[in-house]
Symmetry: C2
Subunit: 319 residues, 2 copies
């Protein structure tokens, strides 16, 4: 039985996921131009950059300036990633940041230390602090993420039970504080998922939290991205995080070859949704233009497909 | 309901699909080396080249010599493509060709003319001649292909009814001649398919021919390749044609950008099958080595993913 949603929300992570993994630091003007193009596609949420340590991620050091210089479009949220209180404070004091109040958790202790400089158990306690912080700032929590949900390059297989246990912790935490938790996001940070594992995970998470909205953060590291998204769609998942042209990858995820570790590709994801009769509110041709600009900026072939061939509309009636 | 097969046969088309679309003619020694690597992976059928007009496809002009110089491995079939009687005769007189007696049909009249220099209706009549030719040569028919089964860059949408009608013609033709037709192959020549369209087509074809084995020839032109393969697997399809490193594409299919029009990628397909618990008889690490060699020969980044990151076995137990 398939249970496809009628409308899917696609959140763009390319400007952050994409440029953080590149060795080179690209001129801010190019990133502004790309974000402005993305703003015109119908995407409603764009992650512009991250407020993280410039020592470890120098590519994101000018995130504050980026927020000041992009052309904001009404109805589009411009968000940022942060991983600790200090980053959150920076985001709060920067100009024009749409604060995306997230909770994060890692079933992999090693990756938690690599990405967040805190053990898994410390991160649990930090989530409690974050919830209070968001509450004090009057920010509704947007989503709770469980990272490396299908496996971890450092710790190997991650059991479904561990992932569910982490979601249970985050759900209970929010319940204790009497706040809503609108979206539970399963993140396949290192590209370990396959379509059947995705379906099993979603099924189990629905049993745990029958009324929660479920989202997915997908990496296409091993070519399963679109198939995993299809599997999730067939289970009714209606929020996906993707990256223009398939850019991206986490610099601390232990991948050998950065260029292959990107997120599921925005324009390919949009194409699939439309072909399946699912609306996205996104203009495929415009998102293809943004992808082509991304490839031009990076100056090397990127992994997206539809940007190289175009969609089907121009062919559908024949020549 | 899913109906995954226990074992899937993956047929390698890269040496033919891959090099026919490249503008450059690669030295025969490189193609020999690649085919020899592929022979050692567990793949049981490798399409070495094609016997087609060297005027239109000069990249395949040395196919006869290629067959003479590769190192044959017992149990591996080395096949060739041809599109007319002349090509078939060349294949029959060349050395060491494992003749792959195919029937071909095109619901798209324009593509039939482009690819085969014959109208759709002429191709129907030719299939009758081919069946008699194979019979006279004592060659069992291996498979019947219906090309551009999901749509055509020249003629636009192709209805399921047209595709089924073509399969019906080929099935009846074989029945009239009293010969078996072991595999019906749905070919998404131009990358128009999506996972739901794939499922609908397979379901309808099973109703038409309940006992036939169904195979798929998939192009990843718009990034749907692995998702389409997953959809087909879930419907019990157990034969796929793929291309090492995702090489390939038909030079007459009207694609703008050759490098993006390739087949579903062999090593990514093998990876997915193994992750789904489906056996292929293929060694993933060896097929990754062959993909890396392919990228080295082409001298540009290719679309395969797993060849850039490796499989999961080395990570599964953690570091």
């Amino acid at each position: 039985m398939s249970d496809f949603p009628k409308f899917v929300e696609i959140r763009e992570e390319g400007p952050r996921e994409g440029f953080q993994i590149e060795k080179k630091i690209y001129p801010i003007e190019q990133r502004i131009e790309l974000i402005n193009l993305l703003s015109d596609t119908g995407l409603k949420r764009i992650q512009v950059g991250s407020f993280v340590s410039p020592k470890y991620v120098p590519q994101m050091a000018d995130t504050g300036e980026l927020f000041e210089r992009i052309k904001r479009v009404d109805g589009v949220a411009y968000t940022a990633l942060w991983l600790n209180d200090k980053g959150f404070r920076k985001a709060m004091t920067a100009h024009n940041v749409d604060i995306d109040a997230r909770l994060l958790f890692y079933p992999s202790d090693t990756f938690s230390r690599q990405n967040n400089n805190a053990s898994s158990m410390e991160m649990r306690e930090k989530q409690r602090e974050w919830v209070r912080l968001y509450k004090a700032e009057n920010l509704p929590v947007d989503a709770a993420y469980v990272m490396t949900a299908f496996g971890c390059n450092f710790e190997g297989n991650i059991s479904q039970e561990r992932v569910l246990d982490d979601f249970r912790f985050l759900i209970d935490l929010c319940a204790e504080e009497n706040i809503d938790l609108p979206i539970l996001v399963i993140a396949d940070t290192m590209g370990w998922g396959n379509p059947e594992a995705v379906k099993r995970m979603i099924g189990a998470l629905r049993e745990l939290a029958p009324t929660a909205r479920i989202g997915m953060h997908i990496h296409d590291t091993r070519g399963m991205g679109i198939a995993n998204m299809y599997a999730a769609l067939s289970m009714g998942v209606d929020m996906f995080e993707s990256s223009i042209a398939g850019l991206g990858g986490c610099p601390f995820a232990g991948h050998g070859h950065a260029r292959a570790a990107g997120n599921v590709c925005t324009e390919d994801a949009v194409f699939m949704c439309h072909e399946l009769g699912i609306e996205t509110g996104i203009d495929l041709d415009k998102v293809i233009l943004a992808a082509q600009k991304t490839e031009e900026i990076i100056g090397a072939p990127l992994m997206g497909r539809v940007m190289h061939t175009g969609g089907l509309d121009k062919y559908r009636k024949g020549k």
